[in-house]
């Protein structure tokens, strides 16, 4: 994911200097902030587009769900996931539908309304 973000940031910068970036980290992808920060800095350097590590701000986005059948809304705290399930969801967040169903009605037909994955929230270039 860091590779995609690095490429994207460089394309936005378009040769100008990156000043700061804000990146949303969705709870479902269970990204380690410091590992991501380090990887991003390295990848940006490889792409020829530097940005100091302290200019990256992460915003944690909690996972949130809403049932399409009964309308109930819930968070990950309300359901139990073991480590293997969390790891599977880390790779492909949509597989959450295999492990989670609506606590109110049991339906797997729900929307992930927040906290899916990594997103670039803001880029500031000089």
């Amino acid at each position: 994911m860091a590779e995609g973000v690095a490429r994207y940031l460089c394309s936005v910068a378009g040769g100008r200097k990156l000043k700061s970036v804000k990146i949303g980290l969705g709870e479902l992808q269970s990204i380690d902030e410091e590992v991501f920060r380090f990887a991003l800095a390295e990848l940006l350097r490889v792409e020829g587009c530097e940005l100091s590590e302290d200019s990256v701000v992460f915003v944690r986005k909690p996972a949130a769900f809403q049932c399409r059948k009964c309308g109930y809304s819930w968070t990950l705290n309300e359901v139990g996931l073991n480590d293997e399930e969390r790891e599977a969801i880390h790779f492909i967040p949509e597989v959450v539908h295999a492990y989670v169903s609506c606590p109110a009605c049991g339906s797997r037909d729900f929307d992930v309304v927040g906290g899916r994955g990594v997103e670039v929230v803001e880029v500031v270039v000089e």
């Binding site: 995609g4 936005v12 599977a88």
Partner: protein
């Protein structure tokens, strides 16, 4: 100084072409009609390519109903390894990638937008390395998976499968029309479940100016060979698909 807010951009899209940069041929196997044998043809193709000492991967993008892992009889304990992405395990000489590695056989109902995200995620995270061929099994229809491939995999050259049945031919006509409209080069058409080439399918190929790659017979042994690659390679279907592969490579 300028601040740019870009909620609509998806960084994963920038990775897809890079992940496929060293794959010479990307062949999505498509047919709008279900039950025409796309998955078995995909698997037979991959087996025949591997047997031919070419490097091959197979990607199951029938994400809500994956079955390549069942045909290949993948050991449930085998998972892709991780190193700056996901590296698919090699089975029967084929690098095999499927969402089934991550669902433990549980049902996975998904809405269209979620299917798009899954396809994008898998294409962005899977590290294929160098391959002569990547065969992509697709679900029936002409919707999210197919459109995502056509939009984001520039080197995709679909192979179309039909049976001689009039309903299948009717559906395939729509698919060919769409592919032609967007200028996607088509590898050719395979007539499956057919003892001999039929006029209706050959005429369709002529009409759309695409290659008729050959017919593949329907046989009970093929169904029995699911999960047993040794047996599968003894089927007439495998022999016919192997001939098609030789024709494609020549």
């Amino acid at each position: 100084m300028s601040g740019l807010r870009r909620h609509d951009e998806d960084p994963r899209k920038l990775l897809i072409e890079r992940r496929l940069a060293n794959v010479n041929n990307v062949i999505p196997v498509m047919s709008p009609k279900g039950g025409v044998g796309k998955t078995l043809i995909s698997t037979l193709m991959a087996l025949a390519i591997a047997e031919n000492n070419s490097s091959v991967g197979i990607l199951d993008l029938d994400v809500t109903n994956p079955s390549i892992h069942v045909i290949l009889n993948l050991d449930p304990g085998v998972k892709p390894s991780e190193d700056k992405g996901v590296i698919p395990p090699k089975v029967h000489g084929i690098k095999a990638m499927s969402i089934a590695y991550y669902t433990e056989g549980k049902p996975l109902p998904l809405r269209g937008s979620e299917i798009t995200k899954v396809v994008r995620e898998i294409l962005a995270i899977t590290i294929w390395g160098s391959l002569d061929y990547l065969i992509i099994d697709t679900p029936p229809g002409m919707s999210d998976v197919h459109l995502e491939i056509l939009s984001n995999v520039g080197k995709a050259r679909p192979l179309v499968v039909t049976t001689p049945h009039i309903l299948s031919v009717y559906s395939v006509r729509s698919l060919l029309t769409i592919l032609k409209e967007v200028g996607t080069p088509i590898v050719g058409l395979v007539e499956n479940m057919s003892e001999n080439p039929t006029d209706v399918v050959i005429d369709l190929c002529r009409e759309f100016k695409i290659r008729y790659l050959g017919n593949v017979p329907l046989e009970s042994l093929l169904a029995l060979s699911v999960g047993n690659m040794t047996l599968m390679k003894k089927t007439r279907a495998y022999s016919r698909v192997a001939e098609i592969i030789k024709r494609l490579s020549s």
